[in-house]
């Protein structure tokens, strides 16, 4: 049953490309939206579905896919961001051919990400992350501009180095236990006969690869260039979900299923996480380009997720997952908004935007909501996930890191205030007289995402007992 998450998009992808000449532009667009929406719906409804039932023809095949609450959170996020990227792209991509290729590559990316969050094997994880990564390289360069090509090539080289680290880890796993599934590695680590040290090293090397793919400090060099040079729809996809699935999802998965509360892993995560928080936030303050600033802010926010994992407790994993979901929503929202500004001004230079908020009220308001959520201001959803992160760290006895997380939140608020001040608030200059609100393709996803942020935040106290409790991994935690 779960196989369908991978097979159906693959089938649709092949069908779309058999006879695309005859298809009007709306068909691939609709296919992406339907499949993205299906991810959201089935992600929400997964427990009520006959997940383990076999499909008659495919019963001979064993894909070994499994789904838990972590998977559900990701399926919903993937679906939402894919839809937003398709909306934005519909507006921003002008040539017919680029649009068709974009839709097809979006489906490739969807297949890769759906597979990555459902599988349970280290090597298959590498394969599906490469599928996603290859789709991203091509997507960044899809308009063939020189900056985009350069951003894509850098991303490709670092991503390939990351893949080499992951494969070295896999090789060591084969060498020590002759198996690469999550459960086999977990078992061998817990019963601890043979050579657990070598196996731990294998997982550690694999994690270095994930750090590079997730853009954590000190491996973040490729990220701002790739994000800011990509076409608007692609930035939404990359920042919203791709780097989260490729780097951070697997980290959460390993912390939850493989290296359960391992002290050395905790320390590495805490250090890498806090470095990312601080470096990302400080670098964000100095940026004059909106997309580059958002990219550095992503590095900082991913640091929060990683530091929460570093708490090494169940609450830490819940906090990390919830912040991941929130981050996928508000960062996609911010990139959608930067795309709407770009569509009207033709630039993402904040110096040329002064006072654009008055001319583009929807864009200005939703940006404000996303920014407050990112900075952890109540009642937006980001407040709750940051609160959980701080609590998790404090309860795990990592008070210093908890204080760092709080202090860095002020930095986050700082750089977003700088952004709001320079780009959105104030009196619009006369050059902006003719600027109007962006078209519906930008405003609709922005408003939907803003609503999700607000509603999740307001109703968070009720979340635990609602059908949406999977966002907190269904843990009946008391805090």
């Amino acid at each position: 049953m779960l196989t369908l998450f991978v097979l159906v998009p693959l089938l649709v992808l092949l069908l779309l490309n058999i006879s695309w000449r005859a298809l009007p532009r709306i068909v691939p667009q609709a296919a992406v939206l339907v499949l993205g929406f299906a991810d959201v719906v089935f992600g929400l409804a997964l427990p009520t579905l006959p997940v383990n039932s076999e499909i008659p023809v495919l019963s001979e095949l064993h894909f070994g896919l499994v789904a838990d609450d972590l998977t559900r959170v990701f399926l919903v996020s993937i679906g939402l961001v894919i839809c937003a990227a398709a909306f934005v792209n519909q507006e921003s991509m002008t040539t017919e051919r680029a649009h068709r290729n974009f839709c097809s590559l979006l489906l490739v990316s969807l297949i890769g990400m759906n597979g990555a969050v459902l599988l349970s094997d280290f090597f298959s994880l590498y394969v599906f992350l490469e599928v996603t990564a290859i789709a991203s390289f091509i997507l960044i360069a899809i308009e063939r501009g020189i900056f985009a090509v350069e951003g894509a090539f850098r991303y490709l080289l670092l991503s390939a180095v990351a893949a080499m680290f992951m494969l070295t880890g896999v090789g060591l796993m084969v060498f020590t236990i002759g198996d690469t599934t999550f459960s086999a590695v977990h078992e061998s680590l817990t019963i601890a006969n043979g050579s657990p040290l070598l196996l731990k090293m294998a997982v550690g090397i694999f994690i270095i690869g994930l750090f590079i793919k997730g853009g954590l400090v000190p491996f973040h060099g490729w990220l701002p260039g790739a994000y800011s040079s990509a076409p608007p729809g692609v930035s939404v996809l990359l920042a919203g979900i791709v780097t989260k699935v490729s780097g951070i999802y697997a980290l959460v998965r390993i912390a939850q299923d493989v290296l359960v509360s391992d002290p050395s892993l905790s320390m590495i995560l805490l250090v890498a996480g806090s470095a990312s928080i601080v470096v990302g936030a400080i670098a964000a303050i100095g940026q004059s380009d909106l997309k580059r600033m958002l990219a550095y802010s992503s590095i900082s926010q991913v640091g929060y997720i990683v530091i929460a994992l570093g708490a090494g407790t169940e609450l830490g994993i819940v906090a990390a997952t919830f912040h991941l979901f929130n981050h996928a929503i508000f960062k996609s929202l911010l990139f959608v908004d930067s795309a709407s500004v770009e569509s009207r001004l033709g630039t993402t230079d904040m110096g040329k935007m002064g006072g654009i908020g008055a001319k583009m009220p929807w864009t200005g308001t939703t940006t404000g909501i996303a920014m407050l959520s990112a900075a952890g201001i109540p009642p937006f959803s980001g407040f709750w996930s940051k609160l959980l992160i701080v609590l998790a760290l404090w309860k795990a006895g990592r008070e210093g890191f908890a204080i760092l997380a709080v202090v860095a939140s002020v930095l986050t608020l700082g750089y977003f205030m700088v952004m709001q001040h320079r780009a959105f608030f104030g009196k619009p200059s006369t050059q902006l007289d003719s600027v109007k609100e962006a078209s519906a393709g930008y405003v609709v996803p922005a408003v939907v995402f803003a609503l999700i942020t607000v509603l999740t935040g307001v109703f968070f106290p009720l979340l635990k007992d609602s059908p949406l409790s999977f966002l907190l991994l269904n843990k009946g935690l008391s805090w």
């Binding site: 991978v6 097979l7 693959l10 992808l13 092949l14 095949l61 064993h62 894909f63 070994g64 896919l65 040539t95 017919e96 051919r97 290729n101 097809s104 590559l105 490739v108 297949i111 890769g112 597979g115 599988l119 094997d121 090597f123 298959s124 394969v127 599906f128 490469e130 599928v131 290859i134 789709a135 390289f137 091509i138 360069a141 899809i142 063939r144």
Partner: protein, 165 residues
Amino acid sequence: MNDAIVEIAMLVTFVLMALWAVLATKLLRAVVALAATSVLVTLLLFRLDSPLAAVFELSVCAGLVSAIFLGAITLTQPENEAEVAVSAKERIRRYWYLPPLLLLLGVALLQVALPDVPTTAAAADDVRKVLWTSRHLDLLGQITVLVAGAFGVIVLFKEARKNER
């Protein structure tokens, strides 16, 4: 004993070829060295009872990859004679410490004593059986990767038509 000498010779050549690929001044020679490395990997894979992977390595890496590199070099013409001379000088400055580094690392690694492994353990399972019983997901991934590659070719290699609307 004789067998071991053949294997040792192949391993040494493998490292030397890799080094040549790095130190060669002309790009064309680097690609030839890369292909030679690939051929050596193929031979080593045969020695390790992995004929199918060996055939893949030979046809894809030594064949297809070299062809792609040659195509890229012909299309870009990256270096003329003068530039080669300049880059050769710079190359020495950049790479002179690679061989000593490798030598040190090699000597250090050779000190590591590893236990013998019984050869009878080999050939226990068949690659086709593994690929077709437990790694279906990877096959699905391979198909998707190839599709993605096809789009890569369409997007990146096709000349942009000017009068497209």
